[in-house]
Amino acid sequence: EDEEENLGLEAWERSYADDRSWEALQEDESGFLRPIDNSAIYHAQYRRRLRATARIQKGLIRYLYIVIDLSRAAAEMDFRPSRMVVVAKQVEAFVREFFDQNPLSQIGLVTVKDGVANCLTDLGGSPESHIKALMGKLGCSGDSSIQNALDLVHGLLNQIPSYGHREVLILYSALSTCDPGDIMETIQKCKESKIRCSVIGLSAEMFICKHLCQETGGTYSVALDESHFKELILEHAPPPPAIAEFAIASLIKMGFPQRAGEGSISICSCHKEVKIGVGYTCPRCKARVCELPTECCICGLQLVSSPHLARSYHHLFPIAPFDEATPSLNDLHNISRSTCFGCQQSLLASGNKAGLCVACPKCKKHFCLECDIYIHESLHNCPGCESLR
């Protein structure tokens, strides 16, 4: 419909038709209008996120069940086009981000429809199989039941090894729960099994969700709109703090399979098909598997490759947050203090005044705000510290 409305306008008018450019302005201290400086806002958000992740022990081998509420409340259209479509899209992004940050962990999907909880996919390490299964089953109807979901997940999570961290993430659209029994008992059972339950609500805050999260040590949040929901769900991708009783160091047996030789023919144990050349061989039982990381179907050994372990190192060896610094007037004449060490961007604001920048507490090099965000969220190396012997 938008295109039809725009046809009555001139070409130059069309480019402004959807553009609320007055919203991108704000007044500065002398009353002049300036465009909104987004970089300072992103940086402030990033600093808040950084403070939240203090230096505490985290669980790296996670077994997470995502419970998706497919009751009739999920067909509400306050999230465009409907809550369930938004949830499915964000779960897909979350699953990919989760496996990127936690390659040794596994996810399973559970749906709640007509008051009954069903296991959509079993615990597994491959993002594609979960996403494919989710996209196929998106019909909503009936009531939602937290107790049934928790009972199902509790039974499934009891089978995992003791070194794994058990988690549930419930994406709840409904405002009620229809339970067959006493949900407080179920919550107690989950607490005793050390399952960490978190909830993200899409409608309003509910007492029972808040109570569940408080008892089990999870987090409860309610999304205001789609971008807020995306932010909330991605907060669950990095590993959460480990529960104290769980955090005993134990030795875990893992296998590092070799790539199968070129032209070698065998039947793979995951698809039961003949494969030529591709795949890996389990070091203990010599069974063929197609992709890593996975659990060997024959002998149950965890199979990983060393880059998968290397992806988790930044959780174990995090870099210190940078301190905010404003270069003094003397520093500005020193070329090394007036450009960002990482990207060589000038740190001077307009008019040769000192702009906002940060400095590494160890190597004392200065960086711009955007490099600060990139270094702490993606790169996990300080270029200044790495450039010193």
Binding site: Q344, Q345, Y374, E386, S387
Partner: protein
Amino acid sequence: MASAPSKLYSDDVSLVVVLLDTNPFFWSSSSLSFSQFLTHVLAFLNAILTLNQLNQVVVIATGYNSCDYVYDSSSTGNQSVGNGRMPSLCATLLQNLEEFMNKDEQLGKQEPEGRIACSLLSGSLSMALCYIQRVFRSGLLHPQPRILCLQGSPDGPEQYVAIMNAIFSAQRSM
């Protein structure tokens, strides 16, 4: 943090970040001399800049005690340095490289025992990735970036975690 799906130029425009290994302990025992190596590198850089007017080249030196930028084809201060016998690319790069290597030598004099010591590849790789992120931020139209490491020194085990982190970050930015 994935790069935004921004438009690239329609032609084959590239930004090449070259990481030059300047470890003196390696070059003193190599069969190829450092000056011969530099001749080939300068010819290569000239070729890239000639292929397309919009191509950019950045050179970062990977030293033994430090790393630093030695050449950026998009910075405007390059035109003045030309002594009539060499194009300004070569003159600027060689001058900056010489300054860098003098500073690098001053920073530490101890010689490694036994085998050849490694150079600081993780530092220059991290700087190259920060520069490329800045290019992604610069707007909708940007050249296709890539990193070329010219490395002769052996790997240092203490740099394993940093180099793996840089590799994963580069994978995510693709």
